[in-house]
């Protein structure tokens, strides 16, 4: 078997439709299994998959470094770097990559370990042709789900929208930024790193851009570029952002009490912070409200770098736990109107664990209730 084989089952030239092909990488040290997979995919004529194969983790990583892959399907039992280690590595390096674990020896502990390592699915290796078809259908469904989630959602605060625009302009990207805040919807068109048009409500051009950048909260979605109805802006993006910031600061200092009922006043439409205070858990024992003793604290950056830790028995494991929580918080909100994730609280009869995950940081605190010594 070759080191890495690529099987494009359509041989079609790159068209818009072809660009939507899913690139799937199978990693397994069993050449027979990879050949069977290739045969089944070829036979089933799934014209929208480009399939890559690697027989160990190292070769898989070299494929990933050269080709944007959408989905990795990895065998759990592999020599040298096993599937769980490999998945964990992928989860760190490619957090948005979809990962599926395949195993011939499925059990609960292996399943939990793979999910913990960032796998979306844990599947038993099929032993029959029908089983193989069923696995392929499941993978197809997973990759389709990802298609629906193309682009990304994020919470917009004053600084973060500017950051996103700056990032896109610096990278000379072409995108349309959809901005939504309450009833308001707006769009900012960025073409090859230049802001060319904006529109919001009845405004367009610089007025709309300044208006959108004065929003204090909401959501944005990055969309593929489409030509704007008109090119209304030709100033440099640096100038536009600076001017918007200046106007916003002036407005803030001029109108300290914005809740005047005006539709123009964004503060009247939106909470000042996107996360409201949640009421106590109805499933909780009220006694839990009593003071608790902090037993462990971890603070890390958005990249997983430990910034502060106190009494963590294993910081790497805890950082990984925060990453899993972050990942799961996005997964379980798919298709639901939940807004930004704030935190997860877990309770045992003796203790609580609070994990807050934001784009720029993760915080984990473990508390023990009073009087629960030991354990």
């Amino acid at each position: 078997m070759g080191i890495v084989r690529r099987y494009d089952d359509t041989q079609r030239p790159m068209t818009n439709q072809a660009q939507k092909h899913k690139r799937v990488l199978f990693v397994d040290d069993d050449p027979q299994f990879l050949e069977t997979i290739e045969r089944v995919i070829r036979g089933s004529s799934r014209g929208h998959w480009d399939v890559f194969f690697a027989d160990n983790a190292g070769k898989a990583l070299s494929v990933l470094s050269e080709t944007p892959i959408d989905l990795v399907v990895a065998d759990v039992q592999m020599p040298v770097v096993d599937g769980v280690q490999f998945l964990r590595l992928l989860h760190r390096r490619f957090p948005n990559l979809q990962k599926v674990a395949l195993t011939g020896f499925a059990n609960e502990s292996a399943r939990a370990a793979c999910l913990d390592a960032g796998a979306e699915l844990f599947l038993e290796k099929p032993r029959t042709g029908a089983g193989m078809e069923s696995v392929i259908a499941t993978l197809e469904e997973l990759s389709r789900w990802q298609t629906e989630e193309d682009g990304f959602r994020g919470v917009l605060r004053r600084a973060s929208l500017e950051d996103v625009i700056q990032m896109e302009c610096l990278s000379r990207h072409s995108v349309v930024l959809w901005v939504e805040a309450g009833e308001l919807r707006g769009e900012i068109f960025i073409k090859e790193g230049a802001i060319v048009h904006a529109q919001a409500k009845d405004k367009s051009g610089i007025a709309a851009f300044n208006y959108l950048l004065s929003l204090r909260g909401g959501e944005f979605v990055m969309q593929p570029f489409a030509e704007p109805p008109a090119a209304t802006m030709d100033d440099s993006w640096e100038m536009l952002i600076m001017e918007a910031a200046r106007l916003r600061d002036e407005e803030t200092s001029a109108s300290p009490s914005p809740a005047d009922g005006s539709a123009e006043t964004l503060e009247a439409d939106l909470p000042s912070t996107p996360v409201r205070t949640a009421p106590a858990s109805p499933a909780s024992d009220p006694a839990k409200a009593a003071p608790a003793r902090i037993e462990e604290v971890l603070i890390c950056s958005g990249e997983g770098e430990v910034l502060y830790e106190w009494q963590c028995f294993n910081t790497d494991e805890r950082v990984n736990f925060l990453e899993v929580i972050s990942h799961k918080s996005r997964q379980l909100a798919q298709g639901l109107e939940l807004g930004q994730f704030d935190r997860l609280e877990l309770e045992t009869p003796q203790a609580r664990l609070i994990a807050q995950v934001r784009n720029d940081r993760g915080i984990l605190v473990r508390l023990r209730g009073p009087g629960d010594e030991g354990a």
Binding site: G339, E345, E347
Partner: protein, 128 residues
């Protein structure tokens, strides 16, 4: 009614019946059960919570209970707090999960009713 046999419900059927009859409370946006055989049952009571998405959600919640156990913290309750709603989850020792998306601005009496609902779910295992 003549004496004889009542139609018997399986434990899962019984829980689905309970889900249908008891969970439509003020402030409950959607809820569902994740059974130990990985099947799920979902009920949606608010727009923005389509049942086809909820079924996946319960599966991910179940995964998280497993993963937390690996991190030496096996919870019986979990609360996921989002900007617009929070998700309460409880898992019984028979590994059956009950989860409910609840509005953030619950009135005290509604919160008490939701709390009672979770207690009822757990109590059903004790009485089974």
């Amino acid at each position: 009614m003549k004496g004889g046999h009542f139609p018997t419900l399986s434990a899962n059927d019984y829980l689905i019946q309970w889900l249908n009859q008891r969970t439509h409370l003020p402030g409950v946006l959607a809820c569902g059960i994740g059974f130990s055989n990985k099947s799920t049952a979902s009920r949606s009571y608010a727009p923005g919570f389509p049942t086809e998405c909820l079924d996946k959600t319960w599966r991910y919640v179940g995964d998280m209970f497993e993963v937390a156990g690996l991190h030496r913290f096996a919870p019986h309750h979990a609360r996921w707090i989002y900007e617009r709603a929070q998700l309460y989850c409880v898992r019984r020792t028979d590994r059956i999960l009950f989860c409910a998306f609840v509005a953030l601005d619950l009135k005290p009496e509604d919160a008490a009713a939701v709390s009672a609902l979770f207690a009822e779910f757990k109590g059903q295992q004790l009485s089974a």
